[in-house]
Amino acid sequence: MRDLYTSELEELEGILREEGKLVDRAIRGALNVLARDDLELADELIAFDDEIDSRYLTIEQRIPSLLARQTPVAGELRLVLAILYINLHLERVADYCVTVAKLAKLAHGLPRDAGVLEALEEMGERCREMLDTGLEYFYARDFTDSQALIDMDRPIDRANRKLIDRLIALGPDEPQREWAMRMMLVSRCLERVGDHAVDIGEQAAYLVRGRFEEFTDASHKTNIK
């Protein structure tokens, strides 16, 4: 029984790893859709979400069964809970990628601004790094400090702010303003991806340390105006 249980836990973590890789591809895809203004790729990305959802649902459905049958405790309980929450965070990140693809479709054909696109690309790449770092903490069970993730999150928040300034400066032209509004929402999506990456890091910390701590307190954030 014990072996079966262990292999079930390993299998669940394996599915989560797959899901993590797929989500990284989704973020990369969303950034490409933006950079190339590629409608076809946008549709592909929206459809690709089903791949992620199927992993998400598998984990979501198997955990109640595992809890009921095996009543995990101690480190194993923390592992199951971490998988449950990280699964949820990854699924949310994937949803943001779909939103970015839909926004890109709505913005198709409108006048674009290279500076804004560059800033979004930069934000997106930081998000990928953060997600990778958060997941790596979890896989390695080797969480030492939260600073790296918080440090990575700061440029995202700053870029988000800079982007807003740049969008305001784009001027009164109506199509340009519409594009700017769409891109503001894109920026917001990417900023949220960064927040989910921090949450994933927090789950890794919970698994390793056995107590939950928030890396940053959202209600007392001082770095965004």
């Binding site: 014990r2 009543t71 995990p72 405790v73 101690a74 480190g75 194993e76 309980l77 923390r78 056995g210 107590r211």
Partner: protein
């Protein structure tokens, strides 16, 4: 601000027992128990707190039952048994020369794994200890009170003169608890009280324990870890140490709030046992 704080406190689940409010009933310091030359438990330090449920868990042979039996001097009944170290009950040396073991067992009652009612009526089972102690005033009232406290009254009130042996296993066990509490002890020790019962009867015993902790200090030995997780405020994990000469003795590995033991134990051996990886 004030409202928010109150709300949080009300919704707070699994509030650990307030460490400041704890009052130690038993204080064991360096307690070892020997059967002849064989050391059964080695150097146990533990405080057991008033009106909490303390669970003792651990693999077979780790000295759980031996330990719980030292708490009401039942080990005295084993001729070869010997205790060293210090065991205080409410500040009094439990093994001191002036202490009467019979009085100890009145104050510290015990319920065993297998329900063991006397082959007498339900009423007489509960009244037995009271009569021995000469507590004959309002016997009916005392019997009813004990049966009510053991959540058995409604099931037996119309057949108090029937034989206790006609009750189901779960009812018999609650009768044994009623018999233990009839003499108004301060502590109830329970050695695997539900291991011979089905899940429904087990659940009734667990509910009862939860009720009883309002008035009594409870210590339970259990093999069922989920039971410890469900009922206990504090959990002590006993493990087995193997000496270089191959002899084995029980040691207290970890003692903490139950929630801590089952979510984030400090000792690898505890983790291994509660997760079922070994032991």
């Amino acid at each position: 601000m004030e409202t928010i704080r109150t709300k949080i406190e009300i919704s707070g689940v699994a509030t650990p027992p307030d460490a400041r409010a704890r009052e130690a009933v038993f204080e064991a310091r360096g307690v070892s128990v020997f059967y002849g030359d064989q050391r059964a438990i080695d150097d146990v330090d533990i405080d057991i707190y008033r009106r909490l449920i303390t669970a003792i868990i651990g693999p077979s042979g780790c000295g759980k039952s031996t330990f719980i039996r030292t708490l009401n001097r039942m080990t005295d009944l084993v001729p070869s048994a010997r205790l060293t170290g210090e065991l205080r009950y409410r500040g009094i040396d439990l093994y001191g020369p002036k202490v009467d073991p019979v009085e100890v067992r009145r104050r510290i009652g015990m319920v065993f794994q297998k329900p063991n009612p006397f082959p007498k009526s339900i009423y007489d089972n509960v009244a037995y200890g009271l009569r021995i102690l000469g507590l004959k005033k309002d016997l009916d009232g005392r019997v009813e009170k004990a049966l009510r406290a053991a959540a058995l009254w409604d099931e037996v009130k119309d057949r108090l003169r029937d034989s206790a042996l006609g009750l189901s296993g779960g009812q018999q066990q609650r009768l044994c608890i009623a018999r233990a509490i009839a003499v108004e002890p301060e502590v109830i020790l329970l050695d695997e009280p539900a291991s011979a019962l089905d899940p429904i009867a087990t659940s009734a015993i667990e509910d009862l324990m939860h009720e009883l902790k309002r008035d009594y200090t409870l210590v339970i030995v259990t093999h069922n870890m989920q039971q410890a997780a469900r009922v206990a405020d504090m959990t002590a994990f006993f493990g087995l140490d193997v000496s270089p000469d191959g002899s084995r003795q029980g040691v207290l590995v970890e003692y903490d709030e139950t929630e801590k033991i089952f979510t984030n134990p400090s000792d690898k051996r505890t983790e291994g046992y509660v997760t079922g990886r070994f032991g």
